[in-house]
């Protein structure tokens, strides 16, 4: 109980400091709170990783390039749209593409597309109205990639 009251008291002081007009300077040296990652950040990370994975496979097997390069382009278009939505000031703007093991074959990419489709679908189902259409299109596109890789 004692500890809980102390914590609550500290929270109130913090809230007052944040809302004080112009700031009183007392807490100015506090570090900025780490911003919550945008809920669609995982969808952006997947788009970048998938584009890179297709590029690696196309480089290793040029005969597949004509078939899979359009899929990589779809993911790059998604990444561009998502990066704009999240905002240039987002926590991971310009973050390196997450490293993924190079898929040995199209079947590996198909599994990755299927998993990414589930991420995007979950995001589309819960997205606020102004993001719903974009997230829905990205989820549907990933589903079409699974079909295209049959």
């Amino acid at each position: 109980m004692w500890n809980r009251r102390r914590v609550l008291g500290a929270t109130v002081i913090g809230a007052v400091a944040v809302t004080a007009p112009g700031g009183c300077g007392l807490f100015d040296s506090d570090p900025e709170p780490i911003p919550e990652p945008d809920p669609i950040q995982p969808v952006l990370d997947e788009a970048r990783a998938l584009a890179a994975a297709y590029d690696r496979l196309a480089a290793a097997q040029p005969d597949l390039s004509g078939r899979i390069t359009p899929l990589a382009e779809d993911h790059r278009a998604h990444a561009a749209a998502l990066a704009i939505l999240i905002g240039a000031a987002g926590p991971s703007a310009g973050a390196p593409v997450p490293s993924a093991p190079a898929p040995a074959a199209l079947s590996g990419l198909r599994a990755a597309e299927s998993a990414a489709m589930k991420t995007a679908s979950a995001s589309a189902r819960t997205a606020p109205a102004d993001r719903a259409a974009l997230m829905g299109s990205i989820a549907a596109c990933r589903a079409t990639h699974v079909e295209a890789l049959r």
Partner: protein, 140 residues
């Protein structure tokens, strides 16, 4: 929401109408694909009719016929219409996403995805490349 769902219903009705014209121009194997697609659109149509009834919305009755974007005279134009129809259904459902939530949103996402996949199947049959588009359902 009712306005967008009514538009999705109109798109599904148009698809059912179109598939009757498409099927007769296709080969046997392609007709099976067309029948499956048409059955999906009938299911979506019936679900929409029920949902709009629940919402006490009464959309305009489906017209007896539709103006086709181009004449369907052979296999190539039939496949082209099938792709066109699925893209149109995808557009109508995508427009419902922003005005729906929960189960209605999930239904809309499933319908958008289904139409986008069906369009890919028709592009493959027709030999159209690329098979996919980055933003299915986004107005062209």
């Amino acid at each position: 929401m009712n306005e967008q769902l009514a538009a999705a219903l109109a798109a599904e009705e148009a698809a059912i109408y179109a598939y009757a014209l498409i099927g007769v121009r296709l080969s046997k194997g392609e007709q099976t694909l067309a029948r499956t697609a048409e059955a999906d659109h009938r299911t979506r149509r019936d679900q929409l009719v029920s949902r709009l009834d629940q919402l006490k919305a009464s959309p305009a009755p489906a017209p007896a016929g539709y103006d086709l974007p181009f004449p369907v005279t052979d296999r190539a134009s039939a496949l082209k219409l099938a792709i066109h129809i699925e893209d149109g259904v995808a557009q109508a459902w995508r427009a419902t996403l922003a005005v729906t939530s929960a189960a209605d949103r999930a239904t809309a996402l499933g319908a958008l995805t289904g139409a986008a996949i069906q369009a890919v199947k028709w592009r493959r049959v027709a030999g159209v490349a690329p098979l996919t588009m980055a933003f299915p359902g986004r107005p062209q």
